[in-house]
Symmetry: C2
Subunit: 331 residues, 2 copies
Amino acid sequence: MSDFSKIAVIGGGSWATAIVKMLSENLENIGWYMRSIYAVEHIKRNKHNPNYLSSAELHPEQLDLSGDINHIVRNYDILIFAIPSAFLNTELEKLTESLDNKIIFSAIKGIVPESGLIVGEHFHQHYKISFENIGVIAGPCHAEEVAMERLSYLTIACQDEQKAKELSKYIKSRYIKTKVSDDIFGTEYAAMLKNIYAIAAGIAHGLGYGDNFQSVLMSNAIREMKRYIKKVHRMKRNINDSVYLGDLLVTGYSIFSRNRTFGNMIGKGYTVKSAMLEMNMVAEGYYATKSAYNINKENGAKTPIIDAVYAILYGKKEAKDVFEKLTNMLD
Amino acid sequence: MSDFSKIAVIGGGSWATAIVKMLSENLENIGWYMRSIYAVEHIKRNKHNPNYLSSAELHPEQLDLSGDINHIVRNYDILIFAIPSAFLNTELEKLTESLDNKIIFSAIKGIVPESGLIVGEHFHQHYKISFENIGVIAGPCHAEEVAMERLSYLTIACQDEQKAKELSKYIKSRYIKTKVSDDIFGTEYAAMLKNIYAIAAGIAHGLGYGDNFQSVLMSNAIREMKRYIKKVHRMKRNINDSVYLGDLLVTGYSIFSRNRTFGNMIGKGYTVKSAMLEMNMVAEGYYATKSAYNINKENGAKTPIIDAVYAILYGKKEAKDVFEKLTNMLD
């Protein structure tokens, strides 16, 4: 029997830090693994993450901070993964401890590049975690606003809804409201797809399209997302719930989104490679585009926006030409 | 038999000017009534509207400009009304010419204050225009971007879809795409309701809520809009089409929206009266809130956002308290 008060966060970035902050409102002890020993020591001394979300005050006396992932996995029942999907595999390879009987919540928004799978499916296929022990933490939420304690709504999903409810008790607080869902596939795919649509919004902006077009793009994107997810996992869901539409909007309208910034550079004429070099990082949506495109090849949902972004990022097509064709497929 | 090439625009504001510009791409002669004789003369001489959308170049040789509404109504079959709903009645009172056999398209986003009706219903009830001769021009469209010839998508609605198709031929151009719909009620109510949600977005911003909350608010707003319109006029429609969702987004995310600005002032502590004085105008959404609230009293759709805005604007309730309660009704 899992003890839901034994929660650990895996990851040292902004979103991991935000989740630790949320849990700190409710738990006396939280496990927290991060790769950087330097950051661990800094947090213990200075009560702030030196690299990410530095404005959030942390409480080291409540934190079991460690640079050893096996120490954390050994001692906690509920593991919240919040590292960029591109680094997940590297971290998991360090594991000597077993993940059997652990409950895994993914707060990762993206595709595991090595397997081309969303995180929940990756854990299921490669670590034999049953789906009832896999959950998702999603929602329209910039970590920066959690640091500022601005009201935010998260959705906690698990096919075993009781587990989602249990975790949600420790997540919600004065500034965090939670909703429970049993749609782990829809919530994870939505979180991944929205990054592609944010790239599309960036490309459009870079090409000189305005707010009128942006609103048409987002309105087409949510319909496309609905068709896409329906093919992946058919169930009753309202695509206009905050975890789907809200998440699309908070990213697609954010001028701080790295995916949107990446797209904007492409729209302005940068090559994919030079945009990545300039940003000194790879936007999540870049990988997501390839995976989403490939997954949909079999599913056959009508996805003109994903297809357009794919043609630009991977097909070496001119953004201007691709978007001119795209505008005729939107309405 | 109406001649669809005999089109006139009634109104001298930004949206009227934008529509004239669109029509100018396709028509040799366009009737255009505006109240201000000074503006008429200015446009004839200087090819720009002096007061609104001044950046748009106009072509006086294509325009039958007149300060006499009866001259225009007499000579044109298709009348596009594009004046603020608050002034519609004053203009209609000047009519000595009959509206019989005219086809009326409303490009007005709002409620006629004197009747509490959307424009189409107002013409139907007070001028005995049959619904098949009433249409709506709607869509996510800032007039300013039409002036800049940025790609925009409009929806032309009429229960007699053939008429919508006919008009759309003269509206679409290099930078305007059109879609035809038979949902005159849904498109008009959506255009009216979105102003209320823009006020709500402004209030939230004024109170200090952030982007995370804004996305939740918009995601709840579109679900509320769906419930509301379904009660008013039940038919098959996809609320995520651009004319509904896109229109909500282009307004709700616009920092230039007068409704959002009005809400922002209320959220920051201005009284309704002082906000209006400060803005030197009344935001359309102010009237819309009262009408929408009253119409819904009978219909009984669940509308927590409209109710909240109503309580603040008309019930003298504190915005802070009302929104704290509202946050518990959203998800």
